[in-house]
């Protein structure tokens, strides 16, 4: 059974600073996702990482995947207030058509202060 752990769970940072959210997972996962969720809203897909060494960037966010370490990171560069949200990582999809859907981490509640 796939387990996904994120840290930190809560993060308060100042605008302009850099920080990294970590996501560890317990067993082989076909792919790793990052989602953003604003309060009371649904999940917005940020990144899908499919292979070892994958790196994707969108604006101030960059995600990477190390399948050997079973670790994904979400790096925030020069944070701005609009990035305040809860960020989830999720793994899923066993090879060969096994369990489906995604297993989510508990989320990182990010507050960016002016």
């Amino acid at each position: 059974e796939l387990k996904v752990e994120q840290n930190p769970l809560f993060l308060s940072m100042q605008e302009g600073k850099n920080y990294t959210i970590y996501c560890n997972y317990s067993t082989t996962s076909d792919r790793l996702y990052w989602y953003r969720q604003d309060p009371g809203k649904s999940l917005e897909s940020l990144f899908v990482l499919l292979s070892n060494g994958a790196v994707k960037q969108e604006g101030r966010l960059m995600a990477s995947l190390d399948t050997k370490a079973r670790l994904s990171t979400l790096h925030i560069t020069a944070a701005v207030h609009d990035l305040s949200a809860t960020y989830f990582c999720a793994g899923g999809g066993e090879a060969g058509g096994g369990a489906d859907g995604l297993t989510f981490g508990k989320g990182t509640h990010l507050i960016i202060q002016p």
């Binding site: 076909d30 996702y33 897909s45 090879a95 096994g98 369990a99 859907g101 509640h109």
Partner: protein
């Protein structure tokens, strides 16, 4: 345009009164999922349909049922809601299931239905 549509956005029901949440999709995706997300927690998969094939998670209570009459629609039925069932219910779709090797496979989420139980 919204591709995964959930109705209603907010639903209030009484303790023990059956309630149905609906989800429709315009993506013609094979797989539809229902997730439960309680306040400040991660979404938890309840079950999913791969086409007409229903797949229940082992720890999903019997109180939760689902129907998928056609490709576009999927319903979540809660037979006797309890106070602990108050949550955001998220519907999601994907073109193929996790075992598929399609690249960039991802889930598309609806806006969710916030269920309150009084």
């Amino acid at each position: 345009d919204a591709m995964v549509i959930q109705n209603p956005r907010y639903q209030v029901t009484q303790f023990g009164k059956p309630v149905t949440l609906s989800c429709s999709q315009t993506l013609n995706h094979n797989v539809m999922y229902w997730y439960q997300q309680k306040s400040s927690q991660a979404p938890k998969l309840l079950f999913h349909y791969y086409d007409k094939d229903f797949n229940n998670e082992a720890d999903t209570p019997d109180n939760f049922q689902s129907r998928r009459p056609n490709t576009s629609f999927c319903f979540l039925d809660i037979r006797s809601p309890g106070l602990g069932d108050a949550a955001m219910y998220l519907c999601a779709t994907s073109r193929d299931r996790g075992g598929g090797r399609a690249t960039n496979e991802k889930l598309f989420f609806g806006s969710g239905t916030q269920l309150s139980v009084l």
